[in-house]
Symmetry: C2
């Protein structure tokens, strides 16, 4: 995770990673079938960590939203990892890519969870928001992903949190 985050996927060799773990690259490949699979496991692990830290089913919906916004700010500490997700989710669009199924599933789950959260928030807002939670969920996730791309390239000219809050306000939610 450390090396991929710092330098990206292709810039790091299995020999680098193995050396940091005190092995040769062949030894590393005993534990992982290939570099791609190693990457997927790193990404999966990372997302599980972030999720279990941020999500608590006992939280009220408004707090969950606020925690997700904080997570956005936190991500800005690790541009390497953010870039890795952006890059790999692009690569993974190829159905033959080893991470393809993982990412397809990831976005479906993400959309469903976000839509569920929005449904509650829309109903609780005063006045209630009339938009379709599923459509907004897709837009919201797209907005965050796209902002990350722009922010990675030009950090000083992009304020991800502010832009997302503006979008939510525009919908009629106070974030």
């Amino acid at each position: 995770m450390e090396l991929f985050s710092r330098s990206g996927f292709h810039a790091v060799s299995l020999r680098d990673i193995a050396a940091h773990a005190g092995m040769t690259h062949a030894g590393l490949l005993h534990h992982f079938p290939g570099k791609d699979e190693l990457l997927i496991q790193v990404l999966t692990r990372r997302e599980e960590l972030a999720f279990t830290q941020a999500y608590d089913p006992d939280d009220p919906p408004a707090l969950t939203l606020s925690k997700h916004l904080d997570q956005l700010a936190l991500n800005m500490r690790t541009p390497g990892l953010v870039g890795l997700f952006v890059k790999v989710s692009g690569e993974a669009s190829d159905p033959a890519h080893p991470a393809h199924d993982y990412f397809v599933q990831r976005y479906r789950t993400l959309r469903a969870g976000t839509a569920e959260l929005l449904r509650t928030l829309f109903a609780q807002a005063t006045p209630p928001v009339e938009h379709d939670p599923d459509a907004v969920a897709q837009q919201l996730i797209a907005l965050v992903d796209g902002l990350q791309t722009q922010w990675l390239l030009d950090p000083d000219n992009v304020d991800m949190r502010a832009s997302v809050v503006a979008y939510l306000t525009q919908l009629g939610l106070d974030a």
Copy 2:
């Protein structure tokens, strides 16, 4: 362009490309200093083509907007190329990447042009739209980029054009 679009940047070798052009890889490298630079020139070329086809300074702003929406639909014919842009814009977040400056400049130009278009459209709308054109431009571009990521992974569950139109309608523009 064809090969990069089909398989992505790293999956294609200079030897592949050269073979398709009826040369050896060394011959190819006579015309391009390296693989990275070849990629940049392909991307630049592609964007110039799309731009000069779609943009006419004599068009009224509403037509320009509509043409851009059509371009979105057109992009859905070449998922490889869309994926390439997504992928490379992620890679290029590294300041050492050969396409870094190109992409930073691309997004600045894109934001400025979009903001300008939105400024006019906002003023002409009935009633006039009160949002900040610069902020909306950033959101709009992010939305399109993010939708592309989701669409690449799961084409059947993402309608890029509809989502963008919904966003514009939300703002108070009829697209």
